[in-house]
């Protein structure tokens, strides 16, 4: 089964930019991603820039409306994701729990919809 692991974090809670803690977390992400890829279960994964540089787009009546900022102003924002292909939810939870950000943020585990011909 395919799952998306969405990494939600509050930037105020995490290691400070440029700190040794941040460097350590970076290393931990690299190790985690390598381990996950080595199992052949990693389909995709990325880290995202912050919501301070997000742009929100909608189309109403044929007009594209572009606004500065995220869709929703929340403290905990999507900071990155992995898409994995594993046996079941227990395995997905186990991989989610190993994501470095899980110790200070939260990981949402979402099954990926299986749509034929897509």
């Amino acid at each position: 089964m395919k799952y998306m692991l969405l990494i939600y974090t509050d930037w105020d809670e995490g290691p400070a930019v440029g700190s040794p803690e941040q460097q350590a977390e970076h290393e931990a992400y690299l190790t985690y991603t390598r381990d996950l890829a080595a199992t052949g279960k990693l389909l995709a994964g990325d880290a995202l820039q912050g919501t301070d540089v997000a742009t929100t787009v909608s189309v109403r009546g044929g007009t594209t409306i572009t606004t500065d900022g995220p869709f929703a102003e929340t403290k905990e924002v999507l900071g990155g994701y992995y898409i994995i292909d594993v046996d079941d939810l227990d395995e997905a939870i186990a991989w989610a729990a190993r994501i470095p950000g899980a110790t200070w943020g939260k990981i949402e585990v979402r099954p990926v919809m299986d749509i034929p011909d897509m």
């Binding site: 089964m1 799952y3 046996d87 079941d88 939810l89 227990d90 997905a92 939870i93 585990v109 099954p111």
Partner: protein, 460 residues
């Protein structure tokens, strides 16, 4: 078609259920056509067999709804047939065989399923004895059956499901309680409960919650989740959110039955034995918790001759192979506390020092403020009300039990024992404003009246 249906499960399952659960392999219960195959015994046997059949069907189909529906079909067939023909030699095998045939029929009729052909073939291949004389030995392989039942319990109590969903699923899929009965017990409209069950089953299927016994690194946590669900069901029988009165005895009966099933499946787990014993000791006192006028009766004032001897013995027997040890878990420790209480010949003989020490240990395991309050009470009875009051005040200052009526109620009782009657009266009145149920309110009003009488005598 149905006679009585599973909507009216027999309340007294002890002999049949007890022996069947002690041996998950399923010893023959009846012996050919038997006058004991009447509608009551049929309802009792099918109720006792429900979880085994659902568990097997769940393994074979991977679809909990289908497993339940097919099991329901088989139970209805049994209710029609057994009273006429007598109990089959192997009820588990009989029900499983019929349920599988009905599952195949249901798959054949189901137009929407894309995987139905594959599933049907698997079921038919599994049907080693689909003929008239099913190979019951193969159907009820004891190890497989134990495994399937555990998988079913772990599935229903998976932490990815909310507590309410876990309880509802466990009562439906494992205990075999019909949805309307579950709805009544939890005071929600039937469609609400039905919806809760549908949503839970959808999440199991869509989110890929596995039907398997968790790996070693998970099993301790997952087993605690199962035990918590069973204990919540038990407490809901006493409407724990509402008070001491036993409002839903069927929930207590089902929780005890689940406890016995678990013990049969996991005889080496001290926590499983602890939970069963805890429920036995608590339930043994059910007739004495509230008096004829509906007033709460404290443990120390309960008529011990009216405690249920059979349940007390069952609790003792469950604990015997699992002596308390330094690594004992919270249910085993709580069972020990209950055991110390019920083993005392009278309230005065209660070993409060032992209970205080056990609560101290439990507090380290759980860090629960309610346990801290019980610890304070035990310390008060072991070392005097002063020592207890200091702990209660410390706990109240912590703020974690704000609004919980038992804090002022406990303070009031300790102040009364210390002779500080004015303060005690005030604390009882505070407690009364927060007391959730009629028996507790009646008890507190009685205490207030008694103190007011003393006060007026003293001043007059």
């Amino acid at each position: 078609m149905t006679r009585g249906g599973v909507g009216t499960p027999a309340r007294t399952l002890t002999p049949v259920d007890g022996s069947a659960d002690a041996d998950p392999g399923g010893e023959p219960i009846g012996d050919g056509p038997d006058p004991a195959g009447g509608p009551d015994i049929t309802a009792a046997v099918t109720h006792a067999e429900w979880h085994r059949v659902v568990a097997t069907l769940m393994r074979q189909t991977g679809d909990l709804q289908l497993a339940e529906d097919a099991t329901q079909d088989a139970v209805e067939a049994a209710l029609a047939q057994w009273p006429v023909e007598g109990l089959p030699t192997n009820p588990t095998g009989w029900l499983t065989t019929v349920a599988r045939r009905r599952a195949i029929d249901r798959l054949r009729r189901d137009q929407r399923r894309v995987d139905k052909e594959e599933l049907r073939h698997r079921l038919e291949a599994d049907a080693t004895g689909a003929g008239d004389a099913p190979d019951v030995a193969a159907l009820t392989d004891p190890d497989q059956l134990v495994d399937d039942q555990l998988r079913l319990l772990f599935l229903c109590c998976h932490p990815a499901l909310g507590p309410e969903a876990q309880i509802a699923l466990t009562l439906r899929a494992v205990a075999g309680l019909p949805t309307p009965a579950i709805a009544r017990a939890f005071l929600v409209p039937e469609p609400t409960m039905a919806q809760r069950l549908v949503r839970a089953k959808r999440k199991i299927a869509v989110a890929g919650i596995p039907f398997r016994v968790p790996d070693d690194d998970l099993i301790v946590d997952r087993l605690q989740a199962v035990l918590t669900t069973v204990y919540l069901i038990f407490n809901e029988g006493y409407a724990s959110s509402q008070g001491a009165a036993l409002l839903h005895p069927e929930l207590c009966d089902e929780a005890l039955r689940l406890g016995r099933i678990l013990r049969g499946l996991l005889p080496d787990e001290a926590e499983v034995a602890g939970l069963l014993a805890l429920m036995c000791f608590t339930h043994a006192r059910r007739a004495t918790r509230v008096d004829d006028q509906g007033v709460l009766v404290l443990l120390e004032d309960q008529d011990r001759t009216r405690w249920d001897r059979a349940l007390l013995a069952e609790g003792d027997e469950a604990l015997r192979p699992h002596p308390l040890a330094p690594g004992s878990g919270p249910y085993r420790v709580q069972a020990e506390i209950a055991a110390v209480h019920v083993r005392a010949p009278d309230a005065a003989a209660t070993d409060w020092r032992a209970i205080a020490s056990l609560y101290g240990g439990l507090l380290r395991l759980t860090d629960s403020p309610v346990v801290a309050l019980n610890h304070a009470v035990a310390v008060a009875l072991a070392d005097g009300p002063d020592a207890g009051l200091a702990l209660v005040d410390e706990l109240a200052a912590g703020g974690r039990l704000d609004g919980y009526y038992l804090v002022p109620a406990t303070r009031a009782d300790l102040l009364r024992r210390l002779g500080r009657l004015d303060e005690a009266l005030g604390a009882y009145r505070t407690a009364l404003t927060g007391a959730p149920s009629a028996p507790e309110q009646a008890f507190l009003r009685g205490r207030i009246r008694a103190l007011e009488a003393v006060a007026s005598t003293g001043s007059g």
